[in-house]
Amino acid sequence: MNAGPKRSWNWSLWFGFLFVLVGFISYAFLFVHFPVTRDSPWANLLLFGAGAILLIVGLARAFGNPRAYRGKIFGPILGVVGALMVALFCYAFFYAARQVPASTGAPRVGQKAPEFTLYDKENKPVSLTDLLSGSKAVVLIFYRGFW
């Protein structure tokens, strides 16, 4: 059978890939819930950075010392998939998320807020006038919705 020395599994490749994977999926499930990590994805970029370093170390081992380390086949695959995840994340966050209409006709500071009547969760009508009566101010938060 294999007469050569037993080759190491090259864990830095797998851990590097794991970091990138966690960086990729953690935004939607975890970091989006905290303004500090939502507005700027620094936590995800840190994970990507750590993952990239480990992947590069792993690839260097696989190709520089193939007698001691595995990974000449799965290393590049993990590297490409990882790079695609980073690219997709950056596209989504830095490009797609910014395709927001300019809303140039939105009410400006000093203008009267347009009156409205909408229905609350109990299907009861609520108007802006209702909200303003007996209060000092109202914050209207328009949001995309949960659907």
Binding site: V100, G110, E115, L118, D120, S135, V139, F142
Partner: protein, 112 residues
């Protein structure tokens, strides 16, 4: 909106009401309020009429190309005048409660 819920007492103590507005029907708002523990009202604008009136429509950005609201926040004073507006340029970046509270305190301090 989670962060607004967390600091809701600071809005209450100033006499500021917080409301959310989206195209979600009341049924979804009921469920979401319960799941997320929101005690401020979520108002339903299924045909995006008010969303259009405020020019905060994001055409085709919803499921199956539905029109939804883009994230936007307005602070309206007791006389119905807009005092502060936040129109984000990224859907990932929203107003923080502190910004709104500061804006309120500033226009109160200015005596208007």
């Amino acid at each position: 909106m989670r962060s607004f819920q967390q600091r809701l007492s600071e809005f209450d103590s100033r006499g500021i009401r917080v409301v959310g507005i989206s195209v979600d029907p009341p049924k979804i708002n009921q469920r979401q309020s319960q799941n997320l523990g929101y005690t401020f009202p979520l108002l339903s604008d299924p045909k995006a009429e008010v969303i259009r009136r405020y020019d905060v429509l994001h055409p085709g950005a919803g499921p199956k190309g539905a029109d939804i609201a883009r994230p936007a926040e307005f602070l309206v004073d007791g006389s119905g005048v807009v005092r502060w507006v936040n129109l984000t340029d990224s859907i990932a970046v929203r107003a923080r409660p502190g910004q709104v509270l500061n804006a309120f305190d500033e226009f109160k301090a200015a005596g208007r």
